[in-house]
């Protein structure tokens, strides 16, 4: 394998990206413009009827009247919107929250039963009440959860206490602990991880078009006549498109950073994000090769590429967060889902690089992307010589 050939072909591919206006637009400008438009459209909370998984740490259960907190939990279950998962301690619950396994953690204090009893004994005499603070930690990676969960709990709490909806005060204070610590997240914070994934997806179209075009105008044939080996050729293509994906991710990062997306993570987390996007680009090259195998012309490649672009886009990026629960399950079959999930855990939930969720996402992305690339190369080589 000669580096000289790989470098020459890689340079050629990058020059194409810069010099062809259509390619330049599709690779760099379109994702940015599209992200802005979509970001604006999805700025508000979704109206999904999804069920939220809530972790419960019930300190009150060891108190004198555990049935009171159980009343609250039963009422929350009856809402059919919340799925409760009881944890023995807050630390375990926080670990699961940081990895996206649950959307919120509710900590019921030991004084809850006493507080409820005091309120019910003298509902109109606040001086007799024993105050209790229910801490609520929310998944900062879920726009819908942060906006939907607190009102549901507050409303249920009010109902359990038998409190008049219009009552000006109660002994219960619901404190959204995690959101108190940071500024309120914007819509951009929620869609930014998906943006990193989104930008690279359009490589599918470019790879499909490029291969179909080079085949149609005889360039593939011309290259095959040279001593260039199939391995050298494919290596140059993979390197080129990984480089383009890196530039795309950098552009999206700069853009989102300028707009205010400043996650509180260190350099290793950013480095990991770029590595993840690089690995993800392999699947897009693979899907592009499958597109080029099916397509008879560059025009056909454009159309066929959407068979792969749309599922990756709608099921695996920021778009998917507002889809139905069924669509979100379907998302688990596309690599982009795991990239977005890992980046969300990393940037928004504050999960550690070594946490199981991040590692599992990385393994899922790596295995699926390498497999898709291998299938793409094999299919293309089977029907068209490289």
């Amino acid at each position: 394998m000669k580096a000289q050939r790989i470098l020459a072909l890689t340079k050629k591919e990058l020059k194409k990206t810069i010099r062809e206006p259509a390619v330049l637009f599709m690779i760099f400008l379109f994702p940015i413009v599209f992200v802005f438009a979509f970001g604006a459209s999805f700025g508000g909370a979704g109206s999904s009827q999804a069920v939220y998984n809530i972790g419960v740490v019930n300190a009150d259960s060891s108190g004198s009247n555990p049935a009171s907190s159980q009343l609250l939990l039963n009422a929350l279950i009856d809402t059919k919107i919340l799925n409760l998962q009881v944890y023995a301690d807050n630390q375990t619950a926080q670990t699961d929250l940081s990895q996206g396994k649950i959307q919120a953690v509710m900590v019921i204090p030991s004084s809850f039963s006493q507080s409820l009893t005091s309120y019910q004994a003298a509902p109109n005499n606040p001086a007799q009440w024993i105050n209790a603070t229910i801490s609520l930690y929310l998944d900062k990676g879920s726009l819908v959860a942060t906006q939907a969960v607190p009102p549901i709990i507050q409303k249920t709490l009010t109902a359990v206490a038998g409190q008049n909806q219009q009552a000006p005060a109660s002994p219960f204070h619901l404190e959204t602990a995690s959101l108190v610590e940071v500024n309120a997240p914007s819509a951009l914070d929620f869609i930014a991880p998906g943006m990193f994934t989104f930008a690279s997806i359009f490589l599918i179209m470019m790879v499909g078009q490029s291969f179909a075009q080079d085949r149609e105008n005889g360039m593939m044939k011309r290259i095959r006549i040279t001593p260039t080996t199939p391995t050298e050729f494919m290596a140059s293509q993979v390197i080129s498109y990984m480089g383009i994906a890196l530039i795309q991710a950098a552009l999206v990062f700069v853009m989102t950073y300028a707009l205010g997306f400043k996650p509180d993570v260190g350099v290793p987390a950013y480095a990991f994000a770029f590595i993840l996007v690089l690995v993800f680009s392999l699947s897009n090259v693979g899907f592009g090769l499958i597109t080029a195998t099916i397509a008879k012309s560059p025009g056909a490649a454009t159309g066929i590429s959407f068979l792969f672009v749309l599922p990756q886009l709608f099921l695996g990026t920021f778009v998917g967060a507002s889809l139905s629960s069924g669509a979100q399950v379907a998302g688990k079959f596309v690599p982009s889902y795991y990239v977005t999930d890992a980046l969300t855990s990393l940037f928004l939930r504050g999960a550690a690089l070594t946490s199981p969720t991040i590692l599992l996402d990385f393994v899922a992305v790596s295995v699926s992307c390498v497999a898709i690339l291998a299938v793409g190369i094999m299919l293309y080589a089977r029907y068209y010589k490289i």
Binding site: K2, Q4, K15, G218, K221, I225, P227
Partner: protein, 248 residues
């Protein structure tokens, strides 16, 4: 005959029920400019594609400078240059960048590549346009650039598949002069063309193939004399029953 550069023995290529090549045997000597003539679909491009390693023959053997095209394709690719029928260039690269790309694909040394690029661009009249995007070139300029891409690595053997098609007379004569120079450098050239006067002017020997079979072989003068006609075009019409221009 001198030492053979190309040896083809009983070469056949079948596409389902169609015989694109039917038991073709042929030898081309080193330093020879050989014309491969025939109507469209006669098997010329199929022959060249097999010799370049782009196609596998159904049966038979072909050797380039003693190397089997099927068994030693890598060695063969180092020895040959091919100007394919399509005007295959990268339109978004300049003429010089296209040349450099293919020089690098042949793993040429940087200094040698620079010298060769300057020389070929000058000989084929593209020096002044070397820094322009190739997509902006005229049809004739693109064909000349295509020829340079085939010859940048100074191959021992060049397959030129209709290199002057769609060229204006000036460009065509520039290419003819260039091919004559290559012949003087003892390069072996295989030329397919639809222009009989081109074959008559340039080729040491010509082979006419039709329906995949070699139906005539010799120098242009021998064929003209044997068939008692005035020129090679009349030989072609007499042997194939078709006018080559009508075929194109």
């Amino acid at each position: 005959m001198n030492e053979s550069a190309i040896v083809i023995e009983h070469l056949s290529k079948k596409y389902q029920d169609v015989n694109a090549l039917d038991d073709l045997s042929l030898q081309v000597a080193k330093g020879e400019l050989f014309g491969l003539l025939g109507p469209n679909g006669a098997g010329k491009t199929t022959t060249i594609n097999i010799l370049c390693g782009l196609l596998k023959p159904s049966s038979g053997d072909a050797k380039i400078c003693g190397y089997d095209v099927q068994k030693d394709p890598a060695k063969v690719k180092e020895l040959i240059g091919v100007c394919i029928q399509e005007t295959a260039i990268y339109p978004y690269l300049t003429g010089a960048e296209n040349v450099d790309l293919f020089g690098n694909l042949h793993a040429m040394d940087k200094a040698a590549l620079n010298n060769r690029r300057v020389l070929l661009l000058k000989k084929l009249g593209l020096s002044e346009d070397a820094k322009r995007r190739a997509g902006k070139y005229s049809g004739g300029m693109k064909r000349r650039l295509s020829l340079i891409l085939a010859l940048i690595h100074d191959p021992q053997i060049a397959f030129l598949d209709e290199p002057t098609v769609a060229m204006d007379p000036q460009s065509r004569h520039a290419v003819w002069d260039f091919l004559k120079e290559l012949k003087k450098e003892n390069k072996t050239l295989i030329l397919t063309t639809h222009y009989m006067e081109e074959a008559e002017e340039l080729c040491d020997r010509v082979g006419i193939i039709d329906h995949g079979k070699l139906i005539a072989l010799g120098t242009p003068q021998e064929l003209i004399s044997q068939n008692k006609v005035k020129n090679l075009e009349e030989v072609f019409i007499k042997l194939t029953g078709r006018n080559i221009r009508e075929e194109s």
